[in-house]
Symmetry: C2
Subunit: 132 residues, 2 copies
């Protein structure tokens, strides 16, 4: 499979992951997470229909949900106008964030960059899901 994208010097490309809204003309759900992919993770994602990433900290391929079961099924995907960023529209099982929240972007900030109170419920109990 040929990926006509601009990868970084490390062979990576950023991926924005957005929740699918059934019937929407364009991806227009909540942004759930941001991660990095390489060619191998792109190939695995295309083969399986499930999001795979490249973990820069662990230096390995990573199936999202391999520990938690919170997999991400690909619905549509796009590259940007510079072909150096990808956008994936996905169906999320459970929650995307390891903290238990639906989205990694749960912490709103005010105009002074101070955190606002989070009044959202968690999607799952992170202490149970990631306890092993």
């Amino acid at each position: 499979m040929t990926f006509d994208f601009k990868f970084t010097a490390d062979g990576l490309i950023p991926a924005i992951v957005q929740e699918a809204v059934p019937g929407a003309e364009f991806p227009s759900g909540r942004v759930l997470m941001f991660a990095w992919m390489n060619r191998e993770s792109l190939e695995k994602s295309m083969e399986t229909g499930l999001m795979h990433y490249w973990s820069r900290s662990r230096g390995k391929l990573w199936l999202k949900g391999e520990t938690s079961g919170h997999t991400q099924k690909i619905v549509r995907w796009f590259h940007d106008c510079d072909r150096d960023v990808l956008l994936f529209e996905i169906e999320q099982k459970g929650g995307a964030c390891h903290t238990g929240y639906r989205s990694c972007f749960f912490q709103e900030l005010d105009r002074e960059a101070k955190p606002l109170a989070v009044d959202e419920e968690k999607s799952f109990d992170d202490g149970v899901v990631y306890s092993e």
Copy 2:
């Protein structure tokens, strides 16, 4: 202003920019673009309420819309669980993409990574807006 984020070694942090949907509990519009910010562009964005970025190719601060008039007014903003990515919910004038499309992510791909036909109309005539 203190920005308690994890910047790259170059002092940058990625910003995902999403279109605001009035009344939505969470940002849930279309992802319009992806760009990089540094502390200065964050300060300018907070001061003015308009998105400013750091251009890595030109090595300078950049007000989105300074040439096109297609500014981005900040509605809400969030950091992610690792504090190394930002999400901005914005009101977009005109179109976000320099090609004339509303979003930089207008090119959908199939499961073989081949581009699909784009049947969306452009938001503006990029030949006119960026002609000078």
